[in-house]
Symmetry: C2
Subunit: 506 residues, 2 copies
Amino acid sequence: MFIRIDKTAGTPVYRQIIDAVRRLIDEGAVPPGTALPATRRLAVSLGVNRTTVVQAYEELQALGYLASRPGSYHHVRSRIKEAEFDPGRKSAISWGTASTPEASRIHRRFQDFNAAAPSPAAKRRRLIDFSGLTLDPRLYPIGDLRKCVDRVLREGGGASLVYGDKRGLLPLREELARRMRRHGVAVSANEILVTSGAQQAIDLVTRMLVRPGSTVVVESPTYGTALPLFEFNGARIAEIPMRPDGLDLDALEGLLRRRRPAFIYTMPNFQNPTGITTGHAHRERLLGLCLRFEVPLVEDGFEEDMKYFGRVDLPVKSMDEHNLIIYLGTFSKALFPGIRLGWITADRDCIERLVAIKGFSELTTSLLVQAVMERFCREGLYDRHLRRLHRVFRKRLTAALRAMDEHFPPAVTWTRPQGGYTLWVRLPKRVPEPEWSAQLESRGVRVSPGRLFFSKAGRSRGFRLSISGCDEEEAREGLARLGRALKDMFPTVQTKAAAARSKDAS
Amino acid sequence: MFIRIDKTAGTPVYRQIIDAVRRLIDEGAVPPGTALPATRRLAVSLGVNRTTVVQAYEELQALGYLASRPGSYHHVRSRIKEAEFDPGRKSAISWGTASTPEASRIHRRFQDFNAAAPSPAAKRRRLIDFSGLTLDPRLYPIGDLRKCVDRVLREGGGASLVYGDKRGLLPLREELARRMRRHGVAVSANEILVTSGAQQAIDLVTRMLVRPGSTVVVESPTYGTALPLFEFNGARIAEIPMRPDGLDLDALEGLLRRRRPAFIYTMPNFQNPTGITTGHAHRERLLGLCLRFEVPLVEDGFEEDMKYFGRVDLPVKSMDEHNLIIYLGTFSKALFPGIRLGWITADRDCIERLVAIKGFSELTTSLLVQAVMERFCREGLYDRHLRRLHRVFRKRLTAALRAMDEHFPPAVTWTRPQGGYTLWVRLPKRVPEPEWSAQLESRGVRVSPGRLFFSKAGRSRGFRLSISGCDEEEAREGLARLGRALKDMFPTVQTKAAAARSKDAS
């Protein structure tokens, strides 16, 4: 039996033994009934401690690979034969025909999005990546999280592993309601629905309000991943342009005079992708329009906690005396996206109706995850993390804007956000996609091409830059590379005045 | 400042101090600027260790309640005033009118289901509860789970907290594929989609295949919580009766001759609610019908791992040479439901289409949860847990059946499952609901009324018993109570022969 151990590898030695033996058995190299070497002998031949081998054999027994005779783990067990996978097997069902038209369309959109994702080759080339919108994992408070999980399981035991309240764990909803009240939004735990991330929240609201042919109004550009979801649920998309101060409200009013959409989807803070934050007057007029035309407003507060420059603007929801705003919150942007936790705050009747859809379509969001995040907030760890994040990103954004001022050609303009992660770069003319992205990647830098943020292709002449994943040094180097590429493309000598027009959005 | 400490409470003392101070500040009893007592003084007056008070003050500082001057945490900070919740505030939107008809219907169904749930008063009365389908939390391997979470976070760090592959974590899909192959189902990781529980899997399949007016064929009785979800997605339900040996295939064939359903939903093992397991010949004929009429079969293997008596029947999916079965698996029944992890195994093209819907509607299932469960399986802890569960439930089911033989009147019959948690009790005549449930509860016992498992009310004259949550002693006592109630209702003296007809299903 040939086993190779690498003591310098990150994997513990006993685990390497287990994996090696499993592979030998799974591949049939060591048939059932075979006697494995005695633990002492194997330990000597591998040059490891005997207890390491004993530990490995015990686990192999637990896994069902070795026979469980007391005191002896030495024989390979005869196991139920695994069925053999045949990749050539065809299906009697044509899934494309069986699928609904909406399902077929979302499938095509998924393939488009996947085509835009970094290739494994690109990942290996160690690009400086401005395309993600995930917080730099180097900033994750893993130790704090570990502590919380451990406490929840130690103190709560099985309580966090059963089915829970379909609205979400009550102490977490209370915590979220308290956080919302600090943002000026007057709600109690009854107006909160915990979701498996904000994306699920968008889906739930859409499933409740959109019928075939309904219109959903979005900012243009907007969060691109929501668009196929709106369409999958039967909506037609109406795009209203973003201007430097936010959604074009005159255009919106014009549209509302003609038809009544199912809802309007907006991101008032650090809009994705432009980074634009709207002011108080804009928020008041937007809310007034919704009230006048009786249209629900879906406010996506995905980066509510990421204000680290300038004055604090309260959510539009804080002015919502007529309960027509459905507010979406999430832990994915300021913390970890992989934990999948978000929430909806809205009128109680609206929440009750959303709970029904969620309750039948998913039962509950992982109770363990909810209990852990409740603990994380209650112990003040989330607030402490936010303070740290604000310090870090004040520096990062400052460094990024300085690097852009230094390296970008005058023909190019960009937004200057007061927080969040993204800014929008506007090019003097349209560039051919995806050739242009490939060109940038060959120069070691990656951005999000503008077309991803529009419902109709060909509208964009810009791209999104996200500083969520790189530190100051990386940002400076990456933006210098990007600046060189942009200068090669737009070499025209212009006055510095062009740079002053840097607040244009689209 | 008045703080009361209970040293005998489960909550740590420092946590009690924190909660008390927060409450005082939140309620305005202690205004901003107030000086809190020095740590030493408070420690003496509460009779606790000074470090306990220091720890509490430090956390209060982290939470933003106390001013963070170096070396002093003594002043209540002036904080952004929390908005005040006004429960009387009305909405300008009529959410009932704004909702789609399907959303309104699922809302009504949700209210029905909630009405059937145990009232808090009933919960306090310490009923013996045969209505849940959640594994007894006393059997949860919490220690093993804690170990896995800790290892995942310690060794993997941030890797388990980012967005992941939308199909699910590759090592988990490989583990699940291996488990499926052991059940005779020949698949690779590419034919697996990880879901947030089996309920989400049902939703995804329905969203892909059901268009308005489509028919979904279900067993009658069936898993009741799936029915409102099918209808929400636009399906009409066709119920085919369960017979003692499974779905009535003659009736199914008759239906398939008349129309082509979007899919057939079946549970071949320990069917919920009847506990019936179909034999090989039944499975072959069912699959043959699906192939002949080109109808996808959705096989819900929710208790695949819970065979603890008799011979092992492989899933229908193991015979599926033409890839028309969409198989659903879950960790919710044999392990913890609150973790929310399930999977779908189907033809690769079908999986690709389901991934698109899932990818846009939820992005991914919690990566942390996936990484933890992968670890749990890989280390053999799941298999070890299953072996323990089988030992426990062999005894529980035996004790339950014996108690029913002893205490139930001859007019009542029931199924005798070979595993799983549920059995179906058939009454000699229909009983009025919910009065009957209330009557049983007043006698200290709770079951699942039969109407919950039918699409149309009034079909049922039975109920479901689940032994998932009670030990042998509780089962014996509960079934004796139930037997007395049944004898009072159906006092007719009959021969023991009636008990022999105990395999009837409906």
